[in-house]
Symmetry: C2
Subunit: 228 residues, 2 copies
């Protein structure tokens, strides 16, 4: 009877096994992320990871085939948060500046709350094989294009300074937000929410402009050195 | 006679030899910086450097004793520009915001105009031996303290927003300025001067505030998400 309806007889067992495997798989990836974060990609071996997970090396290969696979899974995990964030923010019923505020605040929280994985994305992406790296960079480009489009829309709407170069402002934003891993420590004085608020306020203040007082070049004249 | 006044008899020869050595030493450091910049610190050997300079390995040891020595010289070179910049800007006859503008604009130009050495400072400092690294970090702390002090003075003077956390704003500034090496290419569309102007204007606009219109928390309310 079992052989006649393998879906029915095997499904529960398969489902249970897959669920256990998914959990074990997540443990492998999270443990690897933590080790690579602390030791660096080069200095972490498959052996170190299987020891830390508490399984033999042979069993580890059931979940991943290579260190590159592991790095790829870690980076995909981190990027899935980024793409979720984009999906949420592009639908927000607010102005372009409001969308930028919401996006960058959440982006910084993704970085602070997933410090190991986000550090690996910014620090170790160069180790990923070329094809996979190209895929990740394409995903990043999509986000950056969206941010640039919001800046252009905000300029058209008169809420962001028309003197701003959207590409440079996008670089400025991600430079601030993605340097978090270089200085932020979970045991520091500021909470993740305070860090995100502070950086976000700074960025929004740097983008905003009042059309009533705008004159071309006013940002460059502010506290400028006297020309001699 | 020569032996009686070694200073007189040897000085010209010594001076000439030292000058040639200084030039050769500069060539060694600049060539090493260029190689390490392109290949990475780990992937560059003393052999690669002596080949690129065009001298035998034994001669190279006349100028430097180890790869760590080379890294130290490169980092010291880059930092000497930073400290020159600080010495100039702290004496400028302008307001704190004017000093910040002048400092960060020049700092970005130091990064764009010395891309190999500044990249090595930001990317490879971790390879430097602990004692030397501590010395470099202490020098960096001195600069960051000066920037924070300027922000506090600008807040007191009513030209920078009192809601700003000086420490976070300092981090924001150096995050933008020191990420240059991650994206900037000399053959890009923007000139080094345009890159510096754009980032500096963004930072100054983010710091500035008009006491006449300031109300506590106004930066956080700008384009804020409606609370539900």
């Amino acid at each position: 009877v079992q052989n006649d309806s393998p879906e029915l007889s095997l499904a529960p067992g398969r489902r249970r096994r897959r669920s256990v495997n998914d959990e074990r798989r997540k443990t492998v990836i999270d443990t690897a992320a933590d080790l690579i974060y602390r030791r660096g990609y080069d200095a972490t071996s498959i052996n170190d990871i299987s020891n830390a997970v508490g399984i033999v090396k042979g069993s580890l290969y059931y979940y991943i085939r290579s260190k590159d696979d592991l790095l790829y899974e870690i980076v995909l995990d981190a990027h899935s948060y980024t793409h979720q964030n984009l999906a949420i923010c592009e639908k927000l019923p607010t102005t372009p500046l409001g969308k930028i505020r919401a996006y960058i605040n959440r982006h910084i929280r993704i970085n602070t709350d997933n410090l190991a994985k986000s550090t690996i994305v910014y620090r170790d992406l160069m180790y990923l094989n070329e094809e996979r790296r190209a895929e990740i960079v394409a995903g990043r480009d999509k986000v950056e294009t969206w941010v640039r489009d919001q800046i252009r829309a905000g300029q058209d709407a008169g809420e962001m300074c028309p003197d701003i170069d959207p590409k440079m402002a996008t670089i400025a934003m991600f430079s601030m937000a993605n340097a978090i891993y270089q200085w932020y420590h979970l045991d520091g004085k500021l909470t993740p929410a305070e860090v995100a608020q502070s950086h976000t306020d700074f960025l929004v203040a740097g983008l905003a402009c009042d059309p009533a007082t705008h004159t071309p070049g006013h940002r460059s004249r502010l506290a400028a050195e006297p020309t001699i």
